[in-house]
Each structure stands twice: as structure tokens, then as C-alpha cells.
């Protein structure tokens, strides 16, 4: 009974928060909307990364590749189609690409898988560059821009659908199976889990959201080229944000993404020259001293407090 009312309370809080988010364009500045859209972008990249890599422990450095696919879908289809059509196409393109890549690479384990996925980002970037120079004869592309509020609402929509998807997967039998793959892949297979299929499909589902995210971000950036679209930073940051926040809980990556992207914004505006330096130091400290991430730290502190209460 207590558990149920507690869950209801959380749900109401979430709905209230969502309502505030939905109404915020009415009373805030453009700067705020752009900032929040940016944070939402990192949330989407980080949480979608966690769907696959969190429970299985396969560290993928491919987010930038799927993000870039979304960006180029947006650039190519931009002027002729409506936004929903482009969004669906970008997401589908990233999904299909991940299916293909997954079939080839998910036999690889550990560091080999990580290096391959990183190679994929570079490969796609180079291929697109080559294509643009030799076939279309351009280096960059102009993407038709959309209004700040459209970007904001679309990003919010993607984030909400993503959170729901991640929650459902995590609490379903497939979430349990993904975790068992991370624990002991061989035993998972002998317990009846179709390990290969599950890995490939969940990898592709996570790519779908990264693709959609790329489509909408491109319309805000308005100019893109291969080095912007396939920037490896969009592979590293989601991983770091997820680890910083902690992957055991669904809120971990969200908190990590919010703090990190705000920190980035704050440091670039306040300390433009030392930004990278400070950022790096914070990262190192976080990884060395917070192996289970922020959520792990909070849980540990909470446990200690409760024990102290119990003792007195």
C-alpha cells in the first residue's frame, strides 16, 4: 500500500514536471529554450546509449555515427519534406544501419567491439566527406532551420518517448535478459536467451533515438559538414555522462547528462580559455572517485543515513 502511494507520488511529480516543461516556452527566453534543447539532446543520446550498453556492458562508441546519420538525413531531405517524415526516415535509417552493424560486430567482445564502433564513426565521416567532395562537389550543406520552440518540443517529445521505452525495456523480461548477458553471456545462452538477436535489436533500438535526435538538431544548427555531423565528441560525451550519473538506475544517465551539459555551458561562457582543462579535471575526479556514478553515491549516503537513524 505504502509502495503504491509512493509510486503514485513519483508519477504525479513527473507529470507536473512535464507540464512545466510543456508550458515553459510561454514564459521563458529563447536562450533558455536553446539551453534546455541542448540538455535534452544530451539526455536522449545518453539514455539511449544506456538502453543497450548499460545492462550488457558492451561499451559502444557508435552514438556519433547514428547521430550523424540523422543529421545527414535532415540535410538531404530538408527542403522537400515535412519534419515528421524526416524524423521517421532518420530514425529508421539509424535503426537499419545499427541492425547491419550489429549483425557484423556483436560477435566481437569487450575492447574489440568498442574499437569497431568507434571506427564506424570515422568510417562514415570519411565516406560522406569523400562523397560530398567527389560526387556532389560540396563540403557542407545548409539545413532549413526551424523555430526554437519546434526544436524544443520535438526534442522533448523524443525524450519522453525514449524514457518510456527505456523504462518498459528495463522492467520487462528483456531487461532481465540484457542484464544476464552483461553478467554471464554464455550462461544466458544456455538458459534459453537468444543472445545474438537480443543484442542486435536492443542496439538498433538505441540507435533509433540517436538518429531522431540528429534530425532535429541539424535543423537548429542550419549548417553542417561531415566533421560536425560525425564529431567523435558525440560518442564520448554520452558514455562519460552515463558513467558519471551511474547506469544502474534509469535516472543516473539523466542526472549525468543534465549536470554535464550545464557544466559545459557554464564553463564555456565563464572560463572560455580554461574550459577544457577544468572539464577534464572534473571528469578524472568523477571517474576515479565515483565508480558507481552519482546515483551510486546518493544511494550509499542514503544507506549510511538510514543506518545512523536505526542506531540512535
Amino acid at each position: 500500500m505504502i509502495l503504491k502511494s509512493k509510486r503514485l507520488f513519483y508519477l504525479l511529480c513527473l507529470l507536473l514536471f512535464l507540464l512545466i516543461m510543456l508550458l515553459s516556452p510561454l514564459y521563458t527566453s529563447d536562450y533558455f529554450l536553446i539551453l534546455v534543447s541542448n540538455i535534452l539532446m544530451y539526455i536522449v543520446l545518453t539514455v539511449s546509449w544506456t538502453i543497450f550498453s548499460g545492462p550488457t556492458g558492451y561499451i559502444s562508441l557508435a552514438p556519433a555515427a547514428f547521430f550523424g546519420i540523422g543529421i545527414y538525413t535532415s540535410a538531404i531531405m530538408g527542403s522537400q519534406f515535412s519534419l515528421p517524415v524526416i524524423l521517421a526516415t532518420g530514425a529508421a535509417a539509424a535503426f537499419c544501419c545499427a541492425l547491419l552493424v550489429g549483425m557484423v560486430t556483436l560477435r566481437l567482445q569487450g575492447i574489440y567491439f568498442t574499437i569497431f564502433t568507434f571506427g564506424l564513426v570515422e568510417l562514415l565521416g570519411e565516406v560522406v566527406q569523400w562523397w560530398e567532395v567527389n560526387v556532389t562537389g560540396t563540403t557542407g550543406r545548409i539545413v532549413p532551420g526551424t523555430e526554437y520552440t519546434t526544436v524544443y518540443y520535438t526534442m522533448l517529445g523524443i525524450a519522453v518517448v525514449l524514457m518510456l521505452t527505456a523504462y518498459i525495456i528495463k522492467h520487462s523480461r528483456y531487461g532481465l535478459a540484457l542484464q544476464s548477458i552483461g553478467e554471464y553471456e554464455e550462461a544466458a545462452g544456455h538458459t534459453g536467451v537468444n543472445v545474438t538477436a537480443l543484442k542486435i535489436v536492443s542496439f538498433a533500438v538505441s540507435a533509433l533515438f540517436m538518429g531522431a535526435c540528429g534530425v532535429i538538431m541539424a535543423t537548429r544548427w542550419t549548417y553542417i559538414d561531415p566533421s560536425i555531423a560525425f564529431n567523435p565528441l558525440f560518442s564520448f560525451l554520452p558514455v562519460l555522462m552515463a558513467i558519471f550519473g551511474g547506469v544502474a538506475h534509469l535516472f543516473g544517465p539523466v542526472i549525468g547528462a543534465v549536470i554535464f551539459s550545464y557544466l559545459e555551458e557554464f564553463l564555456t561562457t565563464q572560463f572560455p580559455y580554461y574550459y577544457m582543462l577544468i572539464f577534464g579535471v572534473i571528469l578524472v575526479i568523477a571517474i576515479v572517485y565515483l565508480p558507481t556514478g552519482l546515483t551510486g553515491l546518493i544511494r550509499k549516503l542514503g544507506g549510511r543515513l538510514r543506518r545512523r537513524h536505526a542506531n540512535t
Binding site: R173, A177, Q179, E183, Y184, A187, A188, H190, G192, N194
Partner: protein, 239 residues
């Protein structure tokens, strides 16, 4: 029809034949023992049966179906459960979740949550781990972890269970408990193939025993026949 049939099963690792030209046939309801000195190829033979490895050449049939070249999860869903020589539990998942996974995925049909939960709780009761259900599996003792593996393997309602050294590293009392457990599994109509070094257990539990040495079958028969076999004595005690 035998429940498990292997003919001419061979597996090379590089130039070394880990298992060579082994035939075996296990009848339904039997407890079938697999013994041999270290490195004889017992675990490799298990991995071949459970489809972690593919024999070359050789054919393995389960319930008359050729399972050579199938994937481990397919073989599991056909009704073949297994435990591992070195325990391979899902350490950070709870004891109940370990078994739940088997209930969800171990059988070919879709099992709803309520049914899977009921089945898992029954199995934990069966192996004596009910009280430990919510604890992380890594916190169990070795003997409990081995029993957890048995429960997980049984979650998919297998017809055949492969037990790889479930008694190794256990104390005397734990071994007796494990022997009772094997008997109770058998009473449920499940066929068992077991690898074991604890001779007391092998001699008391098994209907028939196969002896492997350097990957080859050197003897097969009832415990009495095998114990009297001169070649087996030579292998175990030296010439």
C-alpha cells in the same frame, strides 16, 4: 528411442583431439555418469551436447531430433538444461531473478509473469533456497550457488539435465544433500547426465557410467562392471 544419442562425436582443439569418436546413448529416466581423469574431455563432451561447441565430425540427437549445429538457446528450449563446472550464476541479479530468467526463456512457449514467478518460487523451494530469494546471487555460499544453478537449469522444464561436477568443493554433509537432490530430480522424471569426481556419489546414483580417457571412451556399463574393468583401474591407479 533413447533421449540422447551421440555417434562418432569428435572435437579437435588445434591438433589435439579433446573428444574422439565417442558414441553414447542415454535412456529416458536414467542417471548416467561420466567419469575420467582430469583432462579426459568430459566437460568438452558436455559442451558438445549443450551446443556450445560443434562436433566435427559427429552427430548428436536429442529426442530423435538432430541438434548438431543448433544454438545453445535452441537446445535449451528443446528441453536440455545444464549447470557449469565453474559456477556461472548472474552474480549481481537476485536469486529469484536468476531462476525467473530461466522460467521466462527456457521453454519454447511464452510464459506470463505470474506463472514464471510461481514456477521460480516452487523451484527455489525445491532446492532449499526460498529464504535467499531476494539476496544477490553473489552473496550465496558455493553449495547454494550450485543449487541455484540447478534451479535455473530446471526452470525451463527440461527433460534432460546435464550436471557438471555439482558436488566438487562441497563438504561431506553438503555432498549427501546434493545426492538427495539428484534423487529427487530423478523422481520428477528428468533424465540426468552427470560428471562427477566424488566416487561415492557416482557409484550410488548412476545406473550406467561412461569412462573417458584422453578423449576416448574406454569403458561403459553399470557401476559394478566399470569398477571391475581392468583398463579403468589402470587409468585411475596407474599401471
Amino acid at each position: 528411442m533413447p533421449i540422447l544419442e551421440a555417434s562418432g562425436v569428435t572435437k579437435y582443439f588445434g591438433g589435439l583431439a579433446a573428444v574422439s569418436n565417442v558414441d553414447l546413448s542415454v535412456e529416458r529416466g536414467e542417471v548416467y555418469g561420466l567419469i575420467g581423469p582430469n583432462g579426459a574431455g568430459k566437460t568438452t563432451l558436455f559442451n558438445l551436447i549443450a551446443a556450445s561447441l560443434v562436433p566435427k565430425p559427429g552427430i548428436i540427437k536429442f529426442n530423435g531430433i538432430n541438434i548438431t549445429g543448433k544454438k545453445p538457446y535452441q537446445v535449451c528450449r528443446l528441453g536440455l538444461g545444464m549447470t557449469f563446472q565453474t559456477v556461472k550464476i548472474f552474480a549481481n541479479m537476485s536469486v529469484l531473478e536468476n531462476v525467473l530468467l530461466g522460467s521466462f526463456f527456457g521453454s519454447p512457449k511464452y510464459v506470463p509473469l505470474s506463472e514464471a514467478r510461481k514456477r521460480s518460487e516452487e523451484l527455489l523451494e525445491f532446492v532449499g533456497l526460498s529464504e535467499a530469494a531476494p539476496t544477490p546471487a553473489k552473496d550465496l555460499t558455493l553449495s547454494s550457488q550450485k543449487r541455484l544453478e540447478v534451479a535455473r537449469a530446471m526452470a525451463g522444464n527440461p527433460e534432460l539435465l546435464l550436471l557438471d561436477e555439482v558436488m566438487a568443493g562441497l563438504t561431506q554433509t553438503e555432498v549427501s544433500e546434493a545426492m538427495r537432490l539428484v534423487n529427487r530430480i530423478r523422481e520428477q522424471g528428468i533424465t540426468i547426465v552427470m560428471i562427477e569426481h566424488v566416487m561415492k556419489a557416482i557409484m550410488n546414483l548412476c545406473d550406467r557410467i561412461l569412462v573417458l580417457h584422453h578423449g576416448e571412451k574406454i569403458a561403459e556399463g553399470t557401476p559394478e562392471q566399470v569398477a571391475k574393468n581392468e583398463q579403468v583401474i589402470a587409468v585411475y591407479l596407474g599401471e
